[in-house]
């Protein structure tokens, strides 16, 4: 073999390739801000799970079926949050790498609606409770 130039080593492949395989690195500060947004969604999920479980555990004199419904819906929101966290992160990171406008959080409005419904359930649970 008569290769004249050594091939530069490939940088380690970054996960996921769907994101890092396209475009180019944005300013590191934007990537870090995106990561903090991701963590904020995760923490929101933990908080929603905690409230959902706490509601069932504490009872609080709420009407049982309404309380259960609110609790289950809260836990469902707590499952939706890490999903939004991940897909929101990948969508924003790709958009930054490709220089496109940033997408809005897809599950955000649904979570808002769900939280309003949960509030109503708890309110009714209080009114019809012991």
């Amino acid at each position: 073999m008569t290769d004249q130039q050594p091939v530069p080593p490939e940088p380690p492949r970054r996960f996921p390739q769907r994101v890092f395989g396209t475009g180019s690195d944005p300013d590191a500060r934007f990537t870090l801000a995106n990561e903090r947004t991701f963590l904020a969604w995760l923490s929101t999920g933990l908080a929603l799970l905690s409230v959902g479980v706490g509601l069932e555990a504490l009872g609080l004199g709420l009407q049982p079926q309404l309380r259960k419904a609110a609790s289950v819906l809260l836990i469902a929101c707590g499952i939706a949050s890490p999903i939004q966290a991940w897909f929101g992160w990948t969508a924003v990171e790709r958009a930054m790498r490709e220089g496109r406008p940033l997408p809005a959080p897809r599950l955000g409005p649904w979570l808002v609606v769900a939280l309003a419904v949960i509030g109503v359930l708890v309110l009714l649970g209080v009114l019809w409770g012991r």
């Binding site: 940088p11 380690p12 970054r14 996960f15 996921p16 994101v19 890092f20 690195d25 590191a28 500060r29 990537t31 870090l32 801000a33 990561e35 903090r36 991701f38 963590l39 904020a40 995760l42 923490s43 999920g45 933990l46 799970l49 905690s50 959902g52 479980v53 069932e56 555990a57 259960k68 609790s71 289950v72 836990i75 469902a76 707590g78 499952i79 949050s81 890490p82 999903i83 966290a85 991940w86 992160w89 990948t90 990171e93």
Partner: protein, 114 residues
């Protein structure tokens, strides 16, 4: 200092201390996860008995692992940012963290509905 937390002091890479703030966000998340892991034992004891130790230990273990990896990740960033203004970040830790929270939620949902 890019090595502002736990490392030798170096020149400031970012006056807004974004890498440091990101590390703190990871630490907060790991702490919250660990607390929930411990409380999980109390909350699932009634339904799972001694089996409650399993999800609780998994969550607490995940929280500690995430905390350790987040620190190492930050130290790597501090070096590469000062050296080349680039982050070379990956999302494996993030994927694991999201999977842990999702799995925890699914477990709690199943326990609530059963």
């Amino acid at each position: 200092m890019a090595g502002a937390v736990g490392g030798a002091p170096e020149r400031v890479w970012d006056a807004g201390l974004q890498p440091e703030r990101t590390l703190l966000a990871w630490r907060r998340f790991a702490l919250a996860l660990a607390v929930i892991g411990f409380v999980l034992l109390r909350v699932t004891w009634h339904q799972l008995g001694w089996w409650a130790l399993l999800p609780s230990a998994l969550v607490v273990g995940a929280a500690m692992t995430i905390a350790v990896f987040a620190e190492r990740r930050y130290q790597r960033w501090a070096r590469t940012l000062v050296a080349s203004d680039a982050l070379h970040n990956g999302a494996r830790l993030a994927a694991i963290a999201a999977a842990v929270v999702t799995g925890l939620g699914v477990l709690l949902l199943v326990l609530a509905l059963v």
